[in-house]
């Protein structure tokens, strides 16, 4: 089962009245892969991700996530995925430990599991001393790392990350990507959107969305070859320049 496909998407479309946010996209994601989902602001990345995680109802097309249909089995999908949205979404008025406990608890994890793994995660994040501090007192970079740890705490099969490193300093970004690699190594498929082209280079495969469509999908090496570019930055610029849609 090396090439098991955990996400299968065929002609997936989302329309908001007469505006087509996502326009017949098709791709698949393999198990344990780090799948980069690139595109300019307003290209439709977040909408696509929200459809896959069961937060948004597709207008047409097919999609299977973790073996479940997005139309009928969206609640089953939710048991098998983690999600980290663009907006920071831990409770600022709860402590680090309370946040972990709450999110792990509502995923149905046992108290024993939660207790043991909390200490492990805090240790990895070097947050053991801050465990009983309110989340709002942490710096942004730490919050983002904590949010990622919370998103994969219940050991999902896939984790969706929507611009997880926005506004984070380069050192923390590097640490963040280290965590992403570790998660992928443990078998979690990572579906990540980003604006940083150096981060795109870290992905196993990258898709680039322009005006709601996927215009390119391949490994970073292959994309550079195809578009005769020296960096992902150049590839992105060549594609994104064609966009007619205004960014948000």
């Amino acid at each position: 089962m090396v090439n098991e496909k955990v996400i299968l998407v065929e002609n997936l479309t989302k329309k908001f009245e007469d505006f087509t946010a996502v326009d017949h996209i098709s791709f698949d994601v393999h198990k344990g892969e780090i799948f980069g989902f690139l595109g300019a602001n307003g290209a439709g990345k977040t909408t696509a991700m929200r459809m896959l995680s069961g937060l948004s109802m597709p207008t047409s097309g097919k999609a299977m996530v973790a073996g479940f249909d997005v139309y009928r089995e969206n609640e089953k999908i939710k048991r098998n995925i983690g999600y980290m949205s663009q907006k920071f979404s831990l409770y600022e008025d709860l402590t680090v430990r309370e946040n972990i406990r709450f999110y792990a608890g509502i995923y149905g994890k046992s108290s024993h599991f939660i207790k043991e793994k909390t200490e492990l995660v805090l240790d990895e994040l070097h947050l053991t001393a801050e465990g009983d501090k309110l989340v709002k007192s942490l710096p942004l970079g730490w919050k983002q790392k904590l949010a990622f740890s919370v998103a994969i705490f219940h050991e999902p099969r896939i984790v969706f990350l929507d611009e997880p490193t926005g506004g984070v300093d380069p050192v923390t970004r590097r640490e963040f990507w280290h965590m992403i690699y570790e998660a992928a190594a443990s078998g979690i498929t990572v579906f990540v959107t980003t604006h940083y082209m150096d981060e795109a280079e870290y992905c196993d495969r990258v898709s680039i969305m322009v005006d709601g469509r996927i215009d390119a999908l391949d490994t970073p090496q292959q994309l550079k070859k195809t578009f005769a570019a020296i960096s992902m930055d150049e590839v992105f610029l060549k594609l994104a320049r064609k966009a007619t849609r205004a960014g948000d």
Binding site: R50, S53, G54, L55, S56, M57, N74, E75, K78, R79, I81, Y83, S85, K87, F88, S89, L90, Y91, E92, D93, L94, E98, R101, F102, Y103, G105, I106, Y107, G108
Partner: protein
């Protein structure tokens, strides 16, 4: 069940960690219950009276002294000129003008009949109406005194009189506070219940945590119960506090069974919390939620039977009060507190309010979408 436990634990932690919520929940009702009933007084006192006395006789002075000693009026002006008194009325320095004509005493003695003139500032309708009614009854009383003074031997009363005597049932001393305090408590409970739930959920929408919960397997019903239960408990705590104040400050103890009030309050809270939930499913931000609940609250208060009697409303307004949960609770709490009604007496109100609870919560659950 375990999911619910985690949801409740989180909610209580947040509530008890936020001092402003606690302040809002407990200090606001206490202060309002202590201050409002004293201010929201049905009795009209301190009516400013200007007297134009053209007569300056002993009869006119007696009449004026009698009016001034009634306690309802403040004699602000005593003059001989109509235009001066009218000026006072125009400048809001007088609510009523009483004009005693030149030959008041003379005509009274000679013709056994005299006239008085009353001018009323009707900008404040209640004050004008009650003020002139008080004044009329004082004058009538005075009239009777004069007559008994003159007709020494009333063997047969030449006029047939129907004397009406009153007996005020259920609130013998007509203490308006017994009437107002339970009603104000109902309003407080409504505001605390509907506002807090609506704002709490909308705030999660604004911060984005609701989306994080929507992406978990937590069911709609669990999520909503996780919000309802803590505020239901808080609401009952506020209610208990309010009843305590009513007893401590106003000596109001329900004539009926306390349990009856609690049973109704428990169901009523579910309805009000359901309304809060419903508002939160329609509002995108806290301002919207506040505006919607203020709008509803105004209607609830004015058409709730607290300040105005529902029985004297026009039929279309009466129809609106049927859709107003507040009116049922005000009715019930007055029935239990003043009359001692039991569960059997409030059955129809209890059933109606259960209907409200089911419809509002059901609607909120239907309108809450985990997926857009």
């Amino acid at each position: 069940m375990r999911t619910l436990k985690y949801l409740l634990q989180k909610e209580f932690r947040q509530i008890f960690r936020d001092p402003s919520i606690l302040r809002l929940i407990f200090i606001m009702p206490v202060i309002q219950l202590i201050i409002l009933p004293f201010a929201a007084d049905y009795e009209i006192k301190n009516i400013k009276l200007a007297v134009i006395d053209h007569d300056h006789s002993s009869y006119s002075r007696n009449l004026i002294a009698k009016i001034a000693s009634s306690g309802y009026f403040i004699l602000t002006n005593y003059t001989g000129s109509y235009s001066e008194a009218m000026g006072k009325l125009e400048h809001d320095k007088a609510d009523l003008i009483l004009e005693v004509p030149v030959s008041f005493e003379k005509e009274l003695v000679k013709e056994s009949e005299s006239k008085l003139f009353l001018a009323v500032n009707a900008i404040n309708g209640v004050k004008a109406g009650l003020g002139s009614a008080y004044l009329r009854s004082i004058i009538q009383d005075y009239n009777k005194e004069v007559r008994t003074e003159w007709i020494q031997f009333p063997r047969f009363d030449p006029e047939t009189n129907i004397a009406v005597t009153y007996s005020n049932w259920f609130n013998p001393s007509m203490n308006y506070k017994i009437f107002m305090v339970p009603g104000i408590l109902v309003l407080l409970l409504t505001m605390v219940g509907a506002n807090l739930t609506a704002i709490n959920i909308v705030r999660e929408k604004e911060i984005g945590t609701i989306e994080q919960i929507n992406v978990t397997p937590v069911s709609k019903v669990h999520f909503i119960l996780g919000k309802l239960i803590p505020f239901w408990i808080l609401g009952l705590a506020v209610f208990t506090l309010g009843l305590g104040i009513a007893r401590l400050f106003y000596g109001i103890t329900p004539a009926g069974n306390m349990m009856t009030v609690y049973v109704f309050a428990a169901v009523y809270l579910l309805a009000v919390l359901g309304l809060g939930l419903l508002i939160s499913t329609y509002a995108d931000n806290q301002q919207q939620a506040m505006l919607i609940s203020f709008f509803l609250m105004m209607i609830f208060i004015l058409l709730g039977g607290l300040y105005t009697s529902i029985d004297s409303m026009p039929s279309w307004a009466k129809a609106i009060t049927k859709a107003n949960p507040v009116s049922y609770f005000i009715e019930v709490i007055r029935m239990v507190v003043l009359k001692g009604s039991g569960l059997a007496d409030i059955k129809s109100q209890l059933l109606t309010i259960s209907g409200f609870a089911i419809v509002l919560n059901g609607w909120a659950i239907l309108n809450y979408h985990k997926r857009s």
